[in-house]
Subunit: 271 residues, 2 copies
């Protein structure tokens, strides 16, 4: 049995978000260890590298156990300083850049902080535009400019349309509109508004009625809207409509917005 | 000189988003190589592993050059299959799990797909609540419930308040409100609404006036709002106000929402 508490640092010359995400996915593989995770971003000069070392060493002393350190430092001098900390250090770049250089037959450029793209890059502008588009096309606000949409999510209220749309925009730069399916649509037996015209971009979300009931109760307790009977009715009708219209869909009940978004991309063959 | 075009696959039993992010940051270090990047998510059974191999090998044949493959596959059997592809394979877990097991003195649990957390986890619910809060508190819509905010961004219009607020909510589960600073605020010489009460949560964004002018011109060409003179006035007044009120701020001109958010977290000592 090893120790059950450890401090982990993610040290980066950029935001450190990528280092943290991968480190986090590795650490979840050690369920019995309780990790305190600390991100140290923007370590892009000597003073900050030395500060990082002092912090890492201080934490190790406080814990009575050396810290674990993941680094993504491109500058070799800064990396060397941080790796002298009294800690267990793992370097993403040491592990992967050299093998990649061998395979590609070229040297890496060792340029700092390019992973999120410059705020002036066309990719970045596309993301910001997509966020603005998605906010302006949330929850069926408007039928306008739907021809610009990359994807249009449809679902009954509280299935995760809005967070998923925003994630698609923010992460992938996709213009994601979303429309609620409401009882009036079921009574008319038709998709809302002008969605028929955009059938190829439609993707549906559905949910277990019991789960929908619980979510809606938190918003409007004891309402018809939140009642289990009504949730069952709406979900059944929405699924019937999506089946009839040939709309691809998934059950969002236990899925994260990352998982839903990844499935939407796959199914609509986006990117 | 090596080859200038290569295909790269990210193969994961989950979304593959983390594998892709780290891979992407490694590949940006090879500027002269043009990479085609393909994510293969949800490889969680034998059939999908075999499909992935077929796709990787097919791409290698089409390219006349073996593909590069990054994997995050926890299941050893599936990893073994994918790693038999005729490709250059790099495994995040092979590289890091064994050293971590040594350092921690415990075996990893080899559990699939935990990195984004379950949709039922309290962290995940917190993220979704934060997104809802942030949407309801965008652009000064309301003063209500500001005591619940983790951070309140202030800036003149078009400095990146909304995308940054949404990123803070989505990535970190922070309730992020934002308020525009408008000419009326400068004339009165006071922060808008009830923001005084929440000074410790305030963080300001500013921007180069020339850049703001270009951004506003795209929205409302030839308006007073977008004119360089007005942009200079608003930015100068906003900076004066933030200085006077002791509000921390940064220049968002060339920063990505990831970089801005990371700085906000650091400065407000959130998390």
């Amino acid at each position: 049995m090893g120790p059950t508490k450890r401090s982990v640092f993610f040290v980066s010359d950029g935001t450190g978000l990528t280092a943290e995400a991968l480190g986090h996915s590795l650490l979840t593989q050690f369920e019995r260890v309780e990790f305190t995770q600390i991100r140290i971003p923007f370590v892009d000069n000597l003073a900050r590298a030395q500060e990082a070392v002092a912090r890492i060493n201080g934490q190790g002393e406080a814990d009575g156990m050396r810290a674990i350190v993941f680094t993504t430092l491109i500058d070799q001098q800064l990396a060397d300083i941080v790796h002298q900390a009294d800690a267990f250090c793992l370097s993403y770049f040491d592990s992967f850049l050299a093998p990649l250089e061998g395979e590609l037959g070229v040297k890496s450029s060792h340029t700092v902080g390019r992973s999120h793209g410059s705020a002036d890059s066309s990719d970045y502008k596309k993301r910001i535009e997509a966020i603005n588009y998605t906010l302006a096309h949330d929850d069926g606000i408007t039928d306008r400019d739907l021809e610009q949409a990359d994807v249009i999510l449809v679902a009954v209220s509280r299935c995760g349309k809005t967070p998923t749309s925003l994630y698609l925009a923010m992460q992938f730069g996709l213009k994601a509109a979303n429309f609620p399916l409401i009882p009036e649509d079921f009574e008319r037996g038709r998709l809302p508004g002008t969605l028929q015209k955009h059938r190829s971009k439609l993707f549906g979300l559905t949910i277990q009625p019991e789960r929908l009931h619980r979510i809606r109760e938190e918003r409007r307790a004891n309402s018809k809207y939140a009642s289990l009977g009504n949730c069952r009715y709406e979900v059944a009708e929405a699924e019937k409509m999506m089946r009839r219209e040939g709309i691809r869909w998934l059950d969002s009940s236990t899925k994260s917005i990352e998982e839903i978004s990844t499935t939407v991309l796959q199914e609509l063959k986006l990117r």
